[in-house]
Subunit: 398 residues, 2 copies
């Protein structure tokens, strides 16, 4: 390999980077969770537990995997760019219209389509602090302004760190074209209920798109939890995004869908890559959609695991953020990056919500994906070993 290939052209490289759009240059790329392979290599470990990316600990929908295995794939043929069969299955399952559906290469793709069709310099997007990182990235990539609204305070009696809908409403101005809201929210797990969401949607100007990101909504089992797909019928400015990456267990394949008014769908389709969803993803998602046993089992295992971890942390006197999702966010009391490092050496990967310095907010919180009972016990045991040492070291050095 010619290692010096670019060494003489550092100056040209700087010039070329300088030609990129200012607001693109300013982006800090998304940091993905460490792949297990990379961690194994780095630490010489073999038995690694990854509870960092909110993947389904029960695996993929068996119906999806079996259906894929049974197919002739014809990998040389382009996918159906219109997603006819998957859309028909979604229509059937959720009582929708095909003209009100856009398919995405994961829901990330759908969030970006909204940004590309509706945001540009001079416009802005409103969302809560501690929201999904892609809202900021997708907005910044268009040159639009990011308006981050402070979340409810840590001492809030029912929803610490939750989205503050009245404040978000006040943040909407004449340049606001998109509001992003995840329900439940990632990385906190917090949520807004039916009444609060409806009141919010009634108050948002009808010219502002509200993107309701329901990536984790299938895990929720509460009568007062809103169903975005129903609300879409009432609010033409509502865009609901869902994903097959979480409860359906198909993160590897990249497929999500958005439901919106057909006039909005037509705009998103203009910035959609013609073959954005791959063929195997289309087949697997269609099969997973009907895998009711797997969904029910996943929901039940998650509910049990979430309750177990909530109680375990309560017993230990560690505060958790209220969650309805497949993860729990815990205050560890020291900068999250330090806890992440220590757990990594135990072979356990979690998601630190801050770096190695306490910067307030949720920088001393870690997010743990709910696993199987054995996995949940392992992460707890690892924390029980690691935290006293770290807190002791912190105490000792102060």
């Amino acid at each position: 390999m010619n290692n010096s290939q670019w060494s003489d052209s550092a100056h040209e490289g700087e010039i070329l980077a300088g030609q990129a759009l200012d607001y693109v240059r300013a982006i800090s790329p998304y940091v993905t969770g460490k792949p297990i392979d990379a961690v194994a290599r780095e630490f010489g470990l073999t038995d690694i537990l990854k509870l960092a990316s909110n993947e389904n600990p029960l695996g993929a929908s068996p119906r999806a995997t079996e259906t894929l295995r049974a197919q002739n794939w014809d990998l040389n043929i382009y996918p159906d760019g219109g997603g006819y069969a998957l859309k028909a299955a979604l229509v059937q399952q959720f009582d929708l219209e095909p003209s009100g559906i856009v398919l995405g290469n994961g829901s990330n793709d759908l969030l970006e389509m909204v940004a590309r069709a509706y945001l540009a310099p001079g416009r802005n997007a409103v969302f809560s602090a501690y929201a999904f990182a892609v809202y900021a990235l997708a907005t910044q990539a268009t040159g639009a302004q990011v308006k981050v609204v402070p979340a409810l305070p840590p001492e809030h009696p029912t929803m610490p760190f939750g989205a503050d809908l009245p404040s978000m409403l006040r943040a909407i101005d004449a340049e606001t074209h998109v509001v992003f809201l995840a329900n439940p929210n990632n990385p906190t797990g917090t949520w807004v209920d039916q009444d609060a969401l409806e009141a919010f949607l009634r108050a948002v100007p009808p010219t502002v798109l509200v993107v309701l990101d329901e990536a984790y909504s299938e895990y929720v089992d509460r009568p007062d939890f809103p169903d975005g797909l129903m609300l879409c019928r009432q609010f033409p400015n509502l865009v609901v995004t869902r994903t097959f990456s979480k409860i359906y267990g198909l993160a590897a394949l990249r497929v999500g869908f958005a439901v919106a008014h057909p006039a909005v769908v037509a705009m998103l389709d203009r910035v959609r890559q013609p073959f954005n969803v791959n063929h195997l993803a289309l087949i697997a998602a269609e099969a997973a959609l009907q895998d009711e046993d797997f969904l029910a089992h996943s929901r039940q295992v998650n509910a049990v695991g979430l309750r177990f971890l909530q109680q375990a942390f309560q017993t230990r006197g560690m505060a958790t953020i209220p969650s309805l999702a497949n993860f729990i966010t815990v205050l560890v009391g020291i900068p999250a990056g330090i806890v992440f490092d220590a757990l990594l050496r135990e072979g356990v990967i979690i998601r630190p919500l801050g770096g190695r310095v306490d910067t307030g907010g949720i920088s001393c919180h870690i997010r743990i994906t709910i696993g199987t009972q054995a996995q949940n016990e392992r992460v707890l045991a690892a924390l029980d070993r690691v935290l006293p040492q770290l807190l002791g070291a912190k105490g000792g050095s102060s």
Copy 2:
């Protein structure tokens, strides 16, 4: 299904569409080739031959398919967003550096990344007439201006409808940030040789990115045909895109790669979706890369088929555009859309380069993917049945 879901909100829909960016509203979405299923349904046909999307008629790389079949998929786990293993294989195969590679959800994704990082209102992109449709779509979606340079004239002695590099050079102005050039070009099959391309690259200002789209380059076997991956070492402003959708036979999976200066790669990574390439695509592409027998066989079958069709059309007195790719573009003498319709009723799908009216340029040309010998004979026979009728009808009605 609630069919009246949106019927009361047509007005709201118009308002919401009106909120999209002007230049997004102005886009005519890409029209994908008709899926075989759709044609079969529409015409009640069973034995359909699709030579419309330049798919590999020999199927997918067997090594790719076998490797995929042999794997535990773990579909619940996110893909490696950094594409470590595939990049390592590309480094090995093409003598590259990992920091000089970006992976894409098909090369379409890569073309869009360039547009999003380097184009915006007030900037422009230069490309030839009769270029790949995505160059215009990707440019328009950013609000940048499309500068289409007339191609070489139909009567050009060696390269009718080819890219006119000197004219493209003259079209570059202070607002030009990107030049798109496909080699060989789709949908014409025309090409530029080593000397002409090098002279062009030397003359382009070093601040302008040249995107050399080599989607079909693996089919070419000529000593004077340039290798973009070698030229990248010499020209830091060169971005080469390649795809696994064509000769590797993996169109279903969506995977391509770009090679560029690391400083440019860093900009493209900022607008790349973190998990843009799916897990099965990463595995399959890595395996296909080493499937030398399949590549050699595909190249050979294509060369034989291309020669066969070129001679067949010459015998019939029908002009073809010079092609080095896996398709041939033929002047049918009547509007392409009419020929498309007639062939569809014969169960043969090709790509019409115009609609139902002769608008000059290549509107009376059809593009035919080179198939197996039997497939090539079938499309010829269908044309032999259909064209005399259409030409007769045209003669009779005038």
